[in-house]
Amino acid sequence: MNEKEIFERIKQGDEKALEFLYKKYYRMMTKLVITNSGTEEEARDIYQDALIVFWQKATSGNLVLTSKISTYIYSICQNLWRKELDRKKRLSNEEKDTAVALDMDTAEKEKIIARCIDQLGETCKKVLMYYYFEEMSMQDIADKLGFANTDTAKTKKYKCKKKLDDLVKAQYSEQDFLD
């Protein structure tokens, strides 16, 4: 596949193209982190995060690529790793404890939401993910999931979102989610 074909497939949400890119640039991207005081595990995480950023921008139609795909992803990796190094440097022991205390509350709420999302059916999850992460249009969602038309997709999304809302609200009272 050439660059143009890969990018077109990525924009259409073709996960096979994403896999292809992952394997193709794995060594190049992880080397960046490893040669800058990172472990391979950190390198893999950074690369995956960068690739997913690229994926989300491309699928949502918010990316006009003016360089090679590898150049773009490489620059994301650089930024992410730089931020991570800064974060590690900044956090003193005292700051770490405070951050952990605050994070536990948020983490607990996130877990509840994640559990509720897991309770949705596969189609519901796909619809919501394509809508809220890939920011696909209803037409694209209908095409990808085989719905009859955009109205069907819209109704499905509404029902799935409503179900998720109800599941989350049932777990805790609304007060628990107010800031």
Partner: protein
Amino acid sequence: MATERDLELLDDYLTNRLNAQDRVAFETKLEADPDLKSEYNLQQRLVKGIQSARVAELKGMLNNIPVAPVGTGGSALIGKLAAGTFVVGAVIIGIYLYNNRGEETQTTQQVETPVQQPEQNATEPNAQTETDSTPEEKRQDVAAQPENTNAASKPEVTTTVPQEDSEVVAERTPIKVYDPNEEAEGDKSEDAAEPVSTEARPAGAAIIVEVDKTNKKYNFHYQFRGGRLYLYGPFEKPLYEILEFFGADDKRTTFLYYKEGYYLLKEDGTEKIKALTPITDAVLIQKLTEYRKK
């Protein structure tokens, strides 16, 4: 109290689907309505949760992809040294063996010019470093765009002409490809290949075929792009065949055989995706069927 319309706007706001003007108006409303603000906070967490779930799903998929470990700087250096030593050793051994080779010199020359000396290749298969294709197919390999390595790595390539000796290929009755429009008046639906002389020869090398079964927009189409043929639709490998014919001027005519139907694949120099239209001309169908049976 948040209305249904407010909740719709909230959803659009959270997913960046509002234009600038509506966005500002909504933000003003958000600040003025505590109930709506509460709902916004909840919905914001839900949207973040959905996004996180998708990220986790994608990361899980990527984690399952096998990749070779990169290794640390130190081990990489040792690895490079070892690899370098091995390569140098292999080169030295190769030079030594080469200098001591006597009777194999002639074989080396044959390998370099396989097309011109097919008989020698046939009698000394050990010298063959290329694939074991016949000279006829070698010439067509050179003529056709895709390389052998590409063909080998593409599982979707379908070769309809079995591997045969050049003598058998020459004995085949050449098929005449003609334009059905010459017989049918005003029939524009089959603007098929230009008339080809009776010397049309079937191709041994196949064009590289790629099948896309997931495209929702194109589900029974084809496209020539980058020297390859793309089929859009549920084309399973055993169920379709590609038939290629070359005329006297080396112009290629390609047909698709699928589920007992024949389809002309027109190459007009554009990369336009075209719908597959079945051939209805009975004579042409018969000729193609006869060729396939052979």
